[in-house]
């Protein structure tokens, strides 16, 4: 079978559906990044926040025998880390990249330790798929949307809600002002640092949802470092999408489509080195960060603590 033949036989709807699923945690990270960074706080700790959420989700879901309880606990854990990152960045004016790195290292360390100490034999209860016997059979849309993980749906909704919040509500207006020119926001009577804290917490909550995807949808168990850099890919997507939800979401597909394609090709037995294809997202991330960054415009006050 030659490649052209295979390419003709691939089910592209199925492929897109897989890419959408895989994009879920990345998009959550990207959305989280958008809230934090639009308010002026660099958040490279998303990876660590996702990881801690993945672990806590797993552990609590097993204990409570409830994926919902696990989900809430995971989000709370990620928000605690986000709160610490906020405290370091906003209150103590630590370098925000350093603070985010500390979050990542801490999350990797603590989850790795707990994994070795407690193991992860039991499997966690899954979150349900959103599946509808009738809608499922609608061509294209059915495959894309109506037999998919709950959290993917949540992600799609958050993409829309985030767009509205950021660009059509007072909250969003204030958030953007605080990230662009905090002094102007301050003189307009807006509590700059409170806005920043709250947006960093929102970013933690979103990263928490992203982390839950790994343990409550994908594998129902925890393995160390299972987020495998997807928080960083999310940041790349955020930059690619110019700190705007819908474009950032579309950018995540750019990262996940190659991998989905690799999966398909392998199924057809095409002798493509899978390993090579699965490095594609990371390669794209590096290229994005090196190249596109220069053309995108981050919020002007990004990374600068506000001091009166």
């Amino acid at each position: 079978m030659d490649l052209v033949d295979v390419l003709l036989r691939i089910d592209y709807v199925f492929l897109l559906a897989a890419a959408l699923r895989a994009a879920t945690p990345i998009a959550f990270a990207a959305l989280g990044g958008i809230f934090s960074e639009r308010a002026g706080v660099i958040n490279i700790g998303l990876e660590g926040m996702m990881l801690i959420s993945a672990y806590v989700c797993y552990r609590v879901a097993v204990l409570a025998a409830s994926p919902a309880v696990g989900l809430v606990a995971g989000m709370a854990a990620a928000m605690v880390l986000a709160g610490l990152h906020g405290l370091f960045s906003i209150r103590y004016q630590t370098n925000q990249v350093v603070s985010g790195t500390v979050v990542n290292i801490f999350a990797a360390g603590i989850t790795g330790f707990l994994f070795r100490a407690l193991g992860a034999q039991e499997s966690a209860p899954y979150l349900p798929n959103i599946s509808h016997p009738l809608l499922k059979s609608i061509p294209v849309i059915g495959t894309l949307l109506f037999d998919q993980p709950l959290l993917m749906w949540v992600m799609l909704i958050v993409v829309v809600v985030a767009t509205v919040v950021l660009f059509r509500t007072p909250w969003g207006l204030r958030t953007r002002a605080v990230g662009e020119l905090p002094r102007a926001a301050d003189t307009a009577g807006i509590p700059v640092n409170r806005m920043r804290y709250l947006n960093v917490l929102i970013s933690g909550a979103l990263a928490g949802l992203g982390g839950a995807f790994f343990t409550l949808h994908t594998v129902s168990t925890f393995t160390p470092l299972m987020t495998s850099g997807q928080g960083f890919i999310g940041l790349a997507a955020m930059i690619f999408g110019n700190w705007t939800p819908i474009p950032a979401f579309l950018a995540t597909l750019l990262f996940t489509l190659p991998q989905a394609l690799a999966g398909q090709l392998q199924m057809f037995g095409v002798p493509l080195p899978y390993q090579l294809l699965s490095t594609l997202p990371y390669l794209l991330t590096i290229i994005t960060l090196a190249g596109v960054v220069r053309r995108s415009t981050p919020p002007a006050a990004l990374g600068t603590p506000y001091v009166k």
Binding site: L173, L181, A185, A188, G189
Partner: protein, 504 residues
């Protein structure tokens, strides 16, 4: 307690920053419907006092009374609620937001959960009509010229129902015509009962607009007067604390051969817009050519191209007939160019280095300051001592980090360094920005001396008075082009002002 027509009274306001007493028991009262000018040199404490009034700083001591009631202002939010509005020296507008968004920020109206922009826009248009403040509510602030941004700031304050309006150095960024229109707006405001505090260090303007004048020096009130009582010279000496000569003494220029020749230079700005659209002119030995223009019309890029800090897209810069290699400040320096840069902190000094090192920044690699790859401390220090003496730089000693000196002394150090080399061409960009009147006098005198010694001088300044006082020839820049040339002896302010706005 207070007289009925006094709206605002600040009593005994004291504010200390590390190492400076910015406000020292300041008393100030503002009457209903007056324009009260706060006059003082850079660093006198004017902005600090107003930032206290606006709740951005907390005073260490003192009281604020509004309408006969004592108030405490913890934050701008409190100030806004009390009817105090402020147009800051550096505008507080978010460039990426629209005019409407900037104005309603913090006071948003909603429709359901969403932002309502239609209702505020009606009010903005109303205010804009009432006071002759023409603005487009839907424009993005980043696309607006500074003059318009200032109108947005004023509308923003009025939208918040300000009864007391503070304007911090509002004319610094305006052309003479825009200043006129600002003044007529202020007159309209005052007629409606708004009280205005107008901060400036420009005597002419203060005399033109103020009902009363309070002069600040080194954190203290040195006197209160009215325009009718005090002349310009008197106000200047109150500001400085000694008599000052406002006029620059200079004999007619005796131009020699062409030293600098700029040939059809085109260049982009940092924001990748065409900043120079083909600029050509000559500067001869022994003349001062002044470039007038509102900031942001290509002057910065022009100076950068000439001094080798920016790569032009097209065109040539010739120094004494030889093309200068683009993008090489050292080549420019080696061939006799001196440069007083517009942004002192970015290009003029290394703030953390000592005064002595800063005084040799352009020549440290040559003997006697460096031998066999090693810096010669003794030579560097004795050079510093000589320049400190000659240029009257006030510093505790030559090894103090230059960042610790006042703006005026930093600038004198830059001037000293640039004048200490043999000089064929002097490029002076905003040479007296943020500098006290005493130092301005000194720097102006040295520039004229350089000319008389046969140097060609290119002076770029946003201060029209400075251009008028020093230039033998005046070129006006607008939109990246030279739009006019006038003889320095016969040029009229109004005429140059029109050219600066592109009205040829």
């Amino acid at each position: 307690m207070t007289r009925p027509d006094v709206v605002l009274e600040m009593r005994g306001i004291t504010k200390r920053f590390p190492g400076v007493l910015a406000n020292d028991h300041i008393n100030l009262d503002l009457r209903k419907g007056e324009v009260h000018a706060l006059l003082g040199e850079n660093g006198a404490g004017k902005s600090t006092l107003m930032n206290i009034l606006y709740g951005l700083y907390q005073p260490d001591a003192g009281e604020i009374w509004l309408d006969g009631r004592r108030v405490t202002i913890h934050s701008p939010r409190d100030a806004i609620a009390l009817g105090i509005g402020m147009v800051h020296q550096h505008f507080m507008l978010v460039p990426t937001l629209t005019v409407t968004e900037n104005i309603i920020l913090g006071l948003e109206t909603r429709r359901g959960l969403l932002l309502d922009e239609a209702t505020p826009q009606q009010r903005i248009r109303q205010i804009s009509r009432d006071f002759g403040l023409e603005i487009d509510p839907e424009a993005y602030v980043k696309d607006l010229p500074v003059g318009v941004q200032q109108r947005v700031e004023i509308v923003k304050a009025l939208y918040r129902n300000a009864r007391v309006l503070v304007l911090d150095e509002p004319t610094a960024v305006l052309t003479p015509l825009e200043v006129e229109s600002l003044f007529s707006t202020l007159r309209a405001l005052v007629k409606r009962g708004v009280s205005v505090i107008f901060i400036s260090h420009k005597l002419k303007e203060v005399k033109a607009i103020a009902d009363r004048i309070t002069v600040l020096r080194q954190g203290r009130v040195v006197g209160s007067t009215t325009p009718a009582e005090a002349g310009e010279a008197q106000l200047a000496s109150m500001m400085v604390g000694r008599p000052v000569i406002l006029k620059v003494d200079k004999s007619p220029a005796q131009p020699g051969p062409v030293v600098l020749s700029v040939r059809d230079v085109k260049a982009m700005s940092d924001r990748r817009a065409m900043a120079l659209q083909g600029v050509s002119f000559d500067v001869r030995a022994g003349e001062i050519v002044g470039i007038a223009g509102v900031e942001g019309n290509g002057q910065t890029e022009l100076v950068e191209v000439i001094t080798g800090l920016r790569q032009p897209l097209a065109g040539q810069v010739l120094l004494c007939g030889q093309p200068l290699p683009a993008w090489s400040p050292r080549a420019a320096i080696d061939r006799g160019m001196s440069h007083i840069p517009e942004d002192r902190y970015k290009y003029g000094i290394v703030a953390a280095y000592s005064l002595a090192i800063n005084l040799v920044l352009s020549v440290f690699h040559r003997p006697p300051f460096s031998r066999n790859g090693l810096l010669q401390r003794r030579a560097i220090l004795s050079n510093a001592e000589r320049l400190v003496e000659e240029f009257d730089i006030r510093a505790p000693h030559a090894e103090v980090p230059i960042g610790k000196l006042s703006g005026g002394n930093q600038q004198k150090a830059v001037v000293a360094r640039e004048f200490s080399r043999p000089m064929k061409l002097l490029v002076a960009a905003q040479p007296t920005r943020g500098v006290d009147v005493g130092s301005i006098e000194f720097i102006h005198k040295r520039i004229v001396q350089a000319r008389d010694a046969g140097a060609a001088v290119l002076l770029v300044s946003a201060e029209l008075d400075e251009i008028m006082a020093l230039s033998d020839r005046i070129l006006v820049m607008f939109g990246g082009r030279i739009v006019g040339e006038r003889d320095g002896r016969t040029a009229r302010r109004e005429d140059i002002g029109l050219l600066m706005m592109g009205k040829v």
